[in-house]
Amino acid sequence: MMLKPSKSDPKVERAERIAADAVAAQESERAKAASGKRKASSYWAVSWNIFKRNKLGVFCLGVVIALVLVAIFAPLLAPYDPDAQTLTNMLQPPSVAHPFGTDEYGRDILSRIIYGCRVSLSVGIVSQVIALAIGFFAGVAAGYFGGKIDAVISFVIQVFSSFPFLLFAIVVMFVLGPGLVNLYVALGLLGWTSTARLIRGDVMRLKGSEYIQSCKISGGKSFRIIIKHLLPNCVSTLIVVTTLGIPNAILSEASLSFLGLGVQPPTASWGSMISASQAYIQTSTYYSVIPGLAIIITVMAFNLLGDALRDALDPKMRS
């Protein structure tokens, strides 16, 4: 009868270790294969994961989404016609029928706030989209082509940003005439310089990169380089600049409406409501406070959202 090798036999021990190693190697191989099949984690997925960790940012995103929904569904949400006057009911304090009270013409302030949200958000977003389009192309032209084009565009940026903001807005609105569309244009024309400046810097940094050289070696035209290489690498800058520009535009709209150069009565706007409430501030304080709060909440939500997006999208903030 053959003796079974005992457990302590060094040869057996070694054989067992080799076998165990082989199994472990197979397993790690399989794990690698499995991880190869996992979903591609794109830049945006990574950014979203970072963004999700910022609770304040997520909350502000919720507020912004809620504001957008309020603006879209204003006719369904508003309890009264915002422009319907009931002169017997003027300057009523908050009550069950009118949760935010009524104004000097007996109009429901809640309904006017809800409709005013449309004006504020549309002014913020549309004017910033205009600013974004002008700013991106001006910035790319200056940064990519350089030389004289850069000198001219940089000079124009300097001129635009040296004007006192409100004075310039008043002049533009005076020339164009008051009205919502003109307000979009005026604020768009005012806001493009910061976008252009940042994009110019980004493009100057990116244009020497080797993947753009590689595109040139293959005969890629400037248009392709701008659309395929520069734009995607500037998107995070564009998102952050725009998100931070929207609250500025909302505040500017409020200022211009306060001065009577923005939205014209009877259309409700938060700025014009504050303007109208001035005369009654001692007797009906709620009339000034409520549109003021609406502006503060909206501007803060956009500002904090912009900060959170910058943290999530900027690769330098990741570590």
Binding site: G36, K37, A40, S41, S42, Y43, S209, E210, Y211, Q213, S214, C215, K216, I217, S218, G219, G220, R224, K228, H229, P232, N233, V235
Partner: protein, 352 residues
């Protein structure tokens, strides 16, 4: 080492290539001085050959590559690609010719657009050249080339940041060869990689050369890699061609004092003391103000009187072996051959 190398079939011919970068001075950008990056360099590359350009940092080897590709326009000289003057092409002819000439970059991190997927990066030359009519054909070609360079097909939709340096370099190689170019310039393609990965990438390049008959211009400062991969080697110093020969000839029989000094300092695993070797003294002179005569004479151990006075011409010292050094000029007088006695200004004084 190109198996398919055909010594009679010249693919790329560089003639008297010169590149000066002007230095802007003063208020109105008038330039009176310039950097002499590449100075009258000529060579030819055969089909299926690996032609190596070696030299220290700043010797103009990368600039030579960029001038050939017209990433920067040469000051003078011509580049003939397939018998056509590549330097003067314009418009559609240039786009067509660019299909034949590609570049592999040194840094696998900055050479891939971080916002493009692997498949889109590799397909970019196809997309620009509009080689394939349908999307399916394009994707099939991308798959084929990914397999050829050893990339898993499941990586198609991934982004560059998910890969290691070696894999990124494979992506860069795939992008360079997807249109089956005739000449690929490899600008230090492995110097940013780990040694073990270097070997894999070098083997991949050799395999692709054998399969597709591509010619490589291999720019490197790593002589052991060059010795392994090159068929012909050119040594550059301060923008000048110093020596040019076949791989075996150059490494077994280096003629130029600069080449000898370079070969002497390759680290080898052997018992020898680095102190016994000739180590070049001083620094490379400024290319803004290159030395008179032979640009190497300030550091040369065999410097003669003539060396500071006249620029040496390239002498053919053996068949196919060119060397730009006065030592091999038989027409020199004894007076000119007298060793230059003065100690070079920048020589280090040995310390006790």
């Amino acid at each position: 080492m190109g198996k398919n190398m055909d010594a009679n079939d010249v693919v790329l011919e560089v003639e008297h290539l010169t590149k000066h970068y002007p230095i802007k001075k003063g208020l109105f950008g008038k330039s009176d001085t310039c950097v002499h990056a590449v100075e009258d360099v000529s060579f030819e590359v055969h089909r299926g050959e690996t032609f190596a350009i070696v030299g220290e940092s700043g010797c103009g080897k990368s600039t030579t590559g960029k001038c050939i590709l017209r990433l920067t326009e040469p000051t003078s000289g011509t580049v003939m690609l397939d018998g056509k003057d590549f330097t003067s092409l314009k418009g559609d002819d240039l786009v067509e010719a660019r299909k034949k000439l590609k570049l592999i970059f040194q840094d696998p991190y900055s050479s891939l657009n971080p916002r493009m997927t692997v498949a889109d990066i590799i397909a970019e030359p196809i997309d620009i050249a509009k080689t394939y009519a349908t999307r399916a054909e394009r994707d099939a070609r991308v798959d084929q080339i990914m397999q050829a360079v050893g990339l898993d097909l499941s990586y198609r939709a991934r982004y560059p940041h998910e890969f290691s340096g070696g894999q990124r370099q494979r992506i860069g190689i795939a992008r360079a060869i997807v249109l089956e170019p005739e000449v690929v310039i490899c600008d230090e393609p492995v110097s940013a990689l780990d040694v073990s990965v270097q070997a894999k990438v070098i083997n991949l390049l050799e395999k692709l050369q054998d399969d597709m008959g591509i010619s490589f211009i291999f720019i490197s400062h790593d002589l052991s890699v060059v010795k392994h991969i090159a068929d012909n080697v050119m040594v550059m110093y301060l923008g000048h061609m110093m020596e040019r020969a076949s791989d075996e000839e150059l490494f077994s029989n280096p003629a130029h004092p600069y080449t000898q000094a370079l070969l002497d300092v390759i680290p080898r695993i052997r018992r020898e003391r680095i102190r016994d070797k000739t180590i070049l003294q001083g620094d490379v002179p400024s290319p803004t103000n290159p030395p008179s005569g032979c640009c190497f004479h300030t550091r040369c151990t065999k410097c003669m009187r003539v060396c500071g006075e006249r620029v040496p011409e390239a002498h053919e010292i053996a068949p196919g072996h060119l060397c730009a050094c006065h030592l091999y000029d038989e027409s020199l007088t004894d007076e000119e051959r007298t060793p230059a006695v003065e100690v070079p200004l920048d020589a280090e004084i040995p310390q006790a």
